[in-house]
Structure formats: C-alpha cells, structure tokens
C-alpha cells in the first residue's frame, strides 16, 4: 500500500558551491577536513535519500547560485530526480504586503515565485505573509486586509498553475499572535492554504493542537519542527532582529528534541487522514547531516508507527 506521507527537508544549507565533486579524494587530501563533504549537490542530495527523504524544499536566496551551476530549473530537477529526490516546494516572503501602494509589486513578485517553483516541478509555495513585526507592527485593519488581498491574488495565480500557496507565519512576523488567525479568515480558502510550522505557531503563543483542529481543512503541508520555547514574550517577538540570538540560543530543535506534543498532534493528523508532503525544517542546527538523520528517525520510527 502506498504511503500517505512524503517526507521532505527544507534546504537551509547555505550556498553549495559545486554541482558534483569528481576528485573527492584529492580534494579531501588538500586539508584533510570534513568540509568537502558539504560542498556539492551530488552528495547533499545523496544524504537526503540516504536519510529517508523523498524531497527537498528550496530556499529562494539560493537560486542565483543553483542556476549558476545548473543553468535551468529543469536541469536541477532532473539531477535531483537521478538521486531519487523531488522538489517539494519553495519558500517565499511577501515583504511590504501590508502597504497598499506596494500591492502590484508584491503580487508580481509572488507570481514570479510561482513561475519559478513550477519550473522546478514543486508544489508548495510556503509563504511568509509579511515583514517582521519590528518596524511594521502593530498592523491596523487596513494593513491586514492588504496582506490578505495580496495572498488571495497570488494564491489564485498559484492554484491556476497547480501550486498550493500556504501561509507560513514566522513568530516574529508582522501578522502575529493577535491577528494571524484573523488573517487566515480574511483569505480565500479555495486558493490560500496553510503551511503549519509546528514550532512557529507555538513560539507565537498559540496552541498547536487547537490550531490544527481549527484549521485542518486549510492545511496543505507542514514544516515539522520542535521548540523548547512555549510562547515567547511580546517584547522579544516584536524586537529587532530576533530570529538569530546573540548568545546562540536556538528557537528550533529537531522533532523530539524540544517540548511540543508531537505524538498527540500526529494522531490528529492521522485521524484527519492528511496526505502529502511533510517537510522537516532544521534551521539553526549546527550539523545539518546529523539533524537530517535525527529528524528522519523520529518522523519514521516514532510518528511513522502511528501513521505514514
């Protein structure tokens, strides 16, 4: 019987500067360090497959270098397919979407992201709805409506191109604890879906189980990750540059290494019969290869025994 779940990994590897290193042994001997294990797409994709992933979610900030190495999205997609990996989706940010005068620009950028993702063969455009809270919040009703309007227009274009736009609300985003559910209500359920980032909603101070039960019909995919910070204070979430902490504190952990009720949530996912991509996001991990393996083990050996 075919699985219901396909496991993907969000690409937080920074620039991978080589397509394929053929002189691996010689290169290793240059400085006899492990750096050469993390410098070519050939090996990075092998690691994905070897650790149990079926897909990769692209980061748009990596595209100039990816296209420099592969020339076209199709060539990258074919190379990944040769390694048994599909492009599941891509992240996108709707900066300035709360500003009415920027509507056209924001929608054009969103459509362009849809086109790019389609060219890579991906399905999920996981979209941060707006800027950071700092410098932009709190939003008034008009600002929130402007964001919804941008998402609706991009979502409609995405749907027409076989792409699912999923709202991905960062805990430091201008749409936040007080209005992120309201934003969902303002968007068109036919074309604006939700990418549930399990850690981000909890960091914002929401209840992930209640959130899932309320919006399970809107959820098209997941960013599955853990956190040990349940409800971060307003003065932290709304401060400047909070994503990276000065002291190295991590907001995110591999599934099972934090405090989220992952098993309980997964049982709800199973009961609802979710089918599709679940993407592990290991941002902030010091060793992505270890994090990928650790996360995959938890997803398949702990959660997978409940539902897969």
């Amino acid at each position: 019987m075919a699985n219901h779940i396909k496991l993907s990994h969000m690409s937080h590897w920074k620039t991978i500067p080589y397509k394929q290193i053929d002189n691996f042994r010689d290169y290793y001997y240059e400085d006899k360090s492990n750096s050469c294990y993390y410098e070519d797409w050939d090996r990075i994709l092998r690691y994905h497959k070897a650790t149990g992933y079926d897909g990769i979610e692209l980061a748009p900030w990596d595209l100039p270098e990816i296209l420099g190495l592969f020339k076209t999205p199709a060539e990258y997609t074919a190379f990944a397919a040769d390694h048994g990996i599909e492009v599941s989706g891509m992240f996108h940010g709707c900066d300035d979407s709360h500003i009415a005068e920027k509507h056209g620009e924001v929608v054009a950028a969103g459509r362009s992201a849809v086109d790019t993702l389609k060219a890579f063969g991906g399905r999920h455009l996981n979209t941060c709805p707006g800027n950071n809270y700092y410098g932009n919040g709190p939003l008034d009703a008009e600002g929130l409506k402007n964001i919804a309007s941008c998402l609706n227009e991009i979502g409609e274009y995405a749907e027409g191109n076989g792409i699912k736009l999923g709202i991905h609300n960062e805990f430091f985003c201008v749409t936040n604890k007080e209005n992120h559910r309201q934003l969902i209500e303002l968007t068109d359920p036919r074309c604006v879906h939700y990418c549930l980032d399990t850690a981000q909603v909890v960091l914002m101070g929401d209840d992930v189980i209640d959130f899932y039960e309320t919006y399970k019909d809107r959820i098209c995919t997941f960013h599955w990750k853990d956190t040990a910070d349940l409800g971060v204070a307003d003065e932290i979430r709304y401060a400047k540059d909070v994503e990276i902490c000065d002291d190295g504190h991590r907001w995110f952990w591999e599934p099972g290494e934090g405090c989220l009720p992952m098993v309980e949530l997964w049982k709800r996912v199973a009961a609802h019969g979710f089918k599709g991509w679940v993407t592990v996001e290991d941002d902030g991990a010091p060793d992505y290869l270890a994090a990928m393996a650790l996360s995959s083990y938890y997803m398949k050996q702990v959660l997978g025994k409940i539902y897969w």
Partner: protein
C-alpha cells in the same frame, strides 16, 4: 610593515559544518580574542550589507549591524579595543551581491553601499576603503542587457569617481581590488587606474594578481606611487581553463580545490614581494587574508606564524 588580519577568514556564504554559529554575536565576540591571541591587533572588515536583509545584526559587517548592537561606531571601536583589537586598517566592499536585475540596480546599490562603507570607515577611524572594482565576469554578463563590457566599465568609472569624491571628503583613501574573476583582472587594472580620479589607489592583492596571470612584482612596480593597501593572499591555483569566467570561480567546476590557501601554504613569492615593497618605500597597511578558511583558528595561527617567519621584518 604594519600587518592587519582580515576577518574575511570567516566564510558566511558557503556551507560548512557549524556555520550557523557565525550568525550570532557570541561568535564574533570570541573572534576578537582569537585574532588577538594570534598576534594581530588590527583588522580588515569585509563590509557586507547582505546580512542586513535577513536581520543578522550579530554579524558586525555593516553600519546597520554595528549600530544595532553597539549604538554607534565609536562604541564599537571602544568595544574592539577592550577586546584586543586596536584598529580597523581596511574596509572591503564587494558589491557583487547587487549584480542582478540590470545595470541601474547594480550601480545604484553599489553607490549607496559604497558611500555607507566610506561613512563607516570614517567613523571607525579607518583610512582605507577597498572596492572590488567589478563583480565576477559571469555575473556581469547577466546584467549587461543591451550594453557591452565597455559600457559597463564606463559605469564602473563613474561609480569609482563618485566614491572617490566621497572618500576625499571623509579623509579616506579609496582603493580598487581586482579579483581574478573580474573584468579588470591582472594587469588590466593599471590602465583603468589611469582613467579615474588620481587619488584612487590600487589594492595589490597577491594571489588574485597571480591567478589572473600577472607578474605581481611588475604590477606593483607599475603602480609604485598608487598603492593604497596590500593584501597578502596565497594560492596554488593555476587557472588553465578559464575558471575565472565560470559562475562560481572560487570553486573550479572541473576540479574542486581551495583556490585561496592559508598563508604560507601556497606558492606566492612573499619574500620577493616584501623586498620590493620595501624598495619602493611602501609604508601603508598590509592585510593578511586567509580568505574563507575551513578551519578558522588554524588559519589565524598559521597567519601568525607566517608573519613571524616568512614576512618578518
């Protein structure tokens, strides 16, 4: 000779184990101690607005980052002094990040951040700003549109002259770095210097000149009165198949290698270059740059050993 150490030793762009630590302030706090312990108390700061866009202000490589974490550049300098670093001898701006979307975008952003880098240098008491004079060849081809390389270089000339005027007002010397992957690689920089403001100087970067096929000593001799900063960079790389034209020239596609080595691990003839610099009476800053290290602590210590032996006064 006054040696400074380049913080370009830390690669933020490319994947490496434990790379994520490099985005937090605690990493940079400790970097000052490591550099100081390696025997260096003067540094070069790569000016990288790239990190502004992601709110990575723990990385002290822009005016925004420094003022976010320290309030003012003066406070930052006082903090550096308290942590073993006496001065910033050079600020390096590489505006290649903005080489996208067309020439107006590139020149607009390069001009804006060039002025910002100069303002940062002035406030930091740094006398030298060096500008990567062109982005990599392949990136330039991507923004030419209907223009040609000659037209692009006219834009570069305008940019350099504009920044030179800003630098003069700030009491800073503007220098030009010509990486081996740029349009003005190797000896081509000499002719270009003749076409821009006379106060603009050369950044003599040893490995970049050598890889581009130039005789490093000849370039220094040809520009003996126009050298504003020297970068000691080392390499074993010979560009035999036009890697400089490729998309990521620091990572040769046909044969993976470390293009820039730690100091003393390559084949640049530093004793001869040092001797020539003394002969022509060069008395400006010399920046030791083991760029994009795979082992930062080791590179700092190797550079310290290099300074104490190979290029010891």
């Amino acid at each position: 000779m006054r040696y400074a150490f380049s913080l370009e030793v830390v690669d933020l762009d490319n994947q490496a184990p434990n790379r994520n630590r490099r985005e937090s302030r605690y990493f940079w706090d400790e970097m000052n101690h490591l550099v100081s312990a390696g025997g260096f108390h003067r540094v070069e700061v790569p000016y990288e607005p790239k990190w502004d866009f992601g709110g990575r202000s723990g990385i002290p490589r822009s005016m925004r980052s420094v003022t976010t974490k320290f309030g003012t550049v003066a406070n930052y300098m006082a903090y550096l002094k308290d942590n073993g670093i006496e001065a910033i001898d050079c600020v390096h701006l590489n505006p290649s990040l903005f080489c996208m979307g067309g020439m107006p975008m590139f020149f607009g952003a390069a001009g804006h951040y060039g002025e910002e880098a100069i303002a940062f240098a002035k406030e930091a008491g740094c006398k030298v700003v060096t500008l990567s004079v062109t982005p990599p060849y392949s990136k330039v081809q991507g923004i030419l549109g209907d223009a040609d390389e000659k037209g692009f270089l006219e834009g570069v000339k305008e940019l350099v002259n504009k920044l030179a005027a800003e630098a003069k007002k700030a009491g800073v010397t503007l220098c030009l770095k010509n990486e081996f992957w740029g349009l003005l690689r190797g000896e081509k920089i000499t002719e270009f210097l003749g076409r821009v403001d006379g106060d603009v100087k050369l950044d003599a970067d040893t490995a970049n000149l050598q890889i581009a096929g130039a005789d490093v000593k000849d370039v220094i001799r040809a520009n003996r009165d126009r050298i504003g900063v020297v970068h000691f960079t080392d390499t074993n790389f010979a560009d035999n198949d036009e890697t400089w034209k490729s998309a990521l020239p620091e990572f040769p596609a046909n044969r993976a290698t470390r293009v820039f080595t730690d100091l003393g691990m390559g084949c640049v003839d530093f004793p001869a270059i040092l001797s020539l610099l003394k002969e022509i009476g060069y008395d400006g800053p010399v920046v030791l740059n083991p760029r994009n290290s795979t082992d930062i602590c080791r590179s700092i210590l190797r550079a310290g050993y290099f300074a104490d032996t190979v290029v010891k006064e």
